[in-house]
Structure formats: structure tokens, C-alpha cells
């Protein structure tokens, strides 16, 4: 446990993810099948790409690792994760990766491939997170996980109506192994994907705040 705590502190200080409860990502080796990974205790494993951070204060960060050039990935990449994680987009802080090594070799866009190539993997990231959070909640309540479901960053116990926030579950979820074959949602149950929603990059692009290549100076 001591060792874990040390690694965790190191990871957090190196990654700037102070206050992180649960951190999930993908292994980023381009040639291998990418796997969902728990980075909460990841020590120096910077081959791993964080995609989701659930902080203990309830902040949910989702990273977009593709350059936003008008094609809408600033929304679509986080939306894919949010759909399976069962959080609404207005509960999410979207952050843009800036070419840092830890985000892997795939930080480019081209050939309309961003969504096509990442769709499965990103859904798995979200779904694994959801299953881990549900596991912690159901164990805490002493009820079967099958009686629980997630919605809007909370886990609910159907029979009793009890609920608990992701914020309260994140730290414990971080200690669980990552389900590698999480159950993905049926498309008919999608709340975000395939439905119109306002683009989160529009306010940034209407105020001079969006950062373009020409604005980067180091």
C-alpha cells in the first residue's frame, strides 16, 4: 500500500493530475492492440494515455487527443467516452492534448479517421470506468451489481432508489482491475451519440480563446 501511495503521488505530481481519484487511459503503442488501462497508480508508466480523470471533488476531465480543425473532434471524441461512462457533456471538462509524449503517437487527424479508428477503444474506456464505479457502489451497498445502473455521473440502485456520485466512488474504483471486455451500450440507449448537441468549441472560437497552431510559441 505504501508503495502504491508513493507511485501514485509521483504519477500525480508528474502528470499535473492533482486530486485525481480515478484515471483511465489507453496503452498508446501504435502497433499493438490498445488496451484500457488504470493509470491511477501508474507510477512512471507514461506509455499510457490518460483519457478520463474523475477527481475526488467531482470534476470529470475527458481529453481530446486529436487536433480540432473544424471537423468537430473536440466534441466527438469526448462524447464517445461520455456516452459509455454515463456522464452528460455538460458535466465534463474537455481538455485538449498538446502533443505531449504521454498522449501517444496518434495525435493527428487525417482521412476522416479520428472517430472511425478510435470508436471502439474510446467506448471501452468509458464502459470500463462505468463498470468499475458501479462495482464500488454495489459493493458498498451490499447489493448485486446487476441491480445498479449509472446515469449523469451517479450510480443508482434500482430497487431502493439510492444513488451515489462518481466523485464519492472514484478513489475506490481506482484500486480495481480494469475490465477488459466491458459491456458496451446498445445503440438504442444512446443519450449523446447520434443526437445533436451544441459544440463545446464554439464559445472558444467566438472569443479568440481557441488555440491554433499559429498561437503556440514553445
Amino acid at each position: 500500500m505504501k508503495q502504491l501511495a508513493l507511485n501514485r503521488r509521483k504519477f500525480i505530481s508528474l502528470s499535473g493530475l492533482a486530486g485525481a481519484g480515478l484515471v483511465l487511459g489507453l496503452s498508446s503503442k501504435a502497433h499493438e492492440a490498445r488496451q484500457v488501462a488504470n493509470l491511477s497508480f501508474a507510477g512512471e508508466s507514461f506509455e499510457l494515455t490518460p483519457y478520463v480523470v474523475i477527481e475526488k471533488n467531482g470534476t470529470i476531465i475527458i481529453y481530446n487527443t486529436k487536433p480540432e480543425i473544424g471537423q468537430g473532434v473536440y466534441q466527438s471524441i469526448p462524447a464517445i467516452i461520455a456516452e459509455e461512462l454515463e456522464v452528460s457533456l455538460d458535466q465534463v471538462t474537455i481538455k485538449q492534448s498538446g502533443g505531449e509524449k504521454k498522449f501517444g503517437e496518434m495525435q493527428f487527424a487525417g482521412g476522416s479517421m479520428s472517430v472511425r479508428s478510435e470508436y471502439e477503444n474510446l467506448r471501452k474506456v468509458g464502459a470500463s470506468g462505468r463498470e468499475m464505479l458501479i462495482a464500488v457502489a454495489s459493493e458498498g451497498w451490499g447489493v448485486p451489481s446487476g441491480e445498479c445502473y449509472a446515469s449523469a455521473a451517479k450510480v443508482f440502485h434500482k430497487p431502493s432508489g439510492k444513488s451515489v456520485s462518481y466523485a464519492a466512488l472514484a478513489e475506490k474504483a481506482a484500486a480495481l482491475p480494469v475490465p477488459q471486455a466491458p459491456k458496451l451500450k446498445d445503440a438504442k440507449d444512446f443519450k449523446i451519440l447520434g443526437k445533436p448537441s451544441p459544440r463545446p468549441d464554439v464559445p472558444l472560437k467566438s472569443s479568440g480563446k481557441a488555440i491554433f497552431g499559429i498561437d503556440v510559441s514553445e
Binding site: 480543425i69 451544441p198 468549441d201 472560437k205 467566438s206 479568440g208 481557441a210 491554433f212
Partner: protein
């Protein structure tokens, strides 16, 4: 090197630069305001539009020596919380695509509404024709200007 006192978004900035340096260069690299964009650098596209004493100008082709002493307003200076009427309309109509031209578009639109509070389509076309958008957001821009002018009911974000 001559030194200039610039009033940018109601703050005074002192810069020491060549008299011929374009205002855009000074704003981006010396004042540190990168919201205004460089497109063509030859007064052809409007990406670099800012206000000088309230009038839209092409900052890429405007020497700093001529801007000193005047009131400069950039995209960063039109509101603190992205809540200028034009910005609200831009968001309601989901105008930007890549967004690169939009700082310039917005500065031209803000100046237009000051001059003509209820512009017609023809007013909009003539005031905005110097602002190019490679993504082709022109019809949304026109709707958003009407919306900001109070000529349209608030439309859903996907018109």
C-alpha cells in the same frame, strides 16, 4: 527603436518596435493577445480585423506608428464572459467551424451593428464581404447578425 504607448482593450501597453511593424504583429507577439489571427498578411481576408477608435481595420497592414494614440479593441476586449450580443448569437447559431476567421468576422459584425443597428441582408453582405471564411459559414454569420440585431426569434443551435 521607437517606443509607443498603445491603448489596447482599455489597458496601456508600452512597446519598442520598428515604426513599420504591423499592428497585428505587435498585438500577437508583443502584447500577447493571440485571439486576432494572421490570414493573408495583405489586407485581403479580414482574419486580422480589430477596431481602431471603433472602426474595423486590417491590423496586418496597419503600421504601428499610425495606431499609437488611438483606442484599439481586439476580440479579447469586446466582452469578459463571451456575452456580447454578437457572441451570444454566434453561439446560438453555432457559427464557427474551424474558427480561424471568426475573430475577424465578429469584430466586423460588432462594428456593423454599431453603425446600423438593424441591418438588411444587403447591409450585412456589404459590411462583411471583406471577411473570408474558408469553411463557408456565411449563411450562419448572416443569421447570427440578424439574431443579434433582434430581427430573428432565437433559433435552435442547429438551424
Amino acid at each position: 527603436m521607437p517606443s509607443y504607448e498603445l491603448s489596447v482593450n482599455n489597458a496601456i501597453h508600452k512597446v519598442e518596435v520598428d515604426a513599420a511593424m504591423p499592428l497585428l504583429w505587435v498585438l500577437r507577439d508583443f502584447v500577447g493577445l493571440t485571439g486576432t489571427k494572421f490570414g493573408c498578411g495583405m489586407a485581403q481576408c479580414g482574419a486580422c480585423t480589430v477596431h481602431l477608435d471603433g472602426n474595423p481595420i486590417r491590423s496586418c497592414s496597419y503600421p504601428i506608428a499610425s495606431a499609437a494614440g488611438k483606442k484599439i479593441t481586439t476580440i479579447e476586449g469586446i466582452s469578459e464572459n463571451v456575452d456580447h450580443a454578437i457572441q451570444k448569437a454566434w453561439i446560438a447559431m453555432q457559427v464557427p467551424q474551424c474558427g480561424y476567421c471568426q475573430s475577424g468576422q465578429i469584430m466586423s459584425a460588432v462594428a456593423l451593428l454599431k453603425r446600423i443597428p438593424k441591418p438588411t441582408d444587403a447591409d450585412i453582405d456589404s459590411a462583411m464581404q471583406g471577411n473570408l471564411c474558408r469553411c463557408g459559414t456565411y449563411t450562419r454569420i448572416r443569421s447570427a447578425i440578424h439574431l443579434a440585431a433582434g430581427d430573428l426569434q432565437q433559433k435552435p443551435f442547429r438551424p
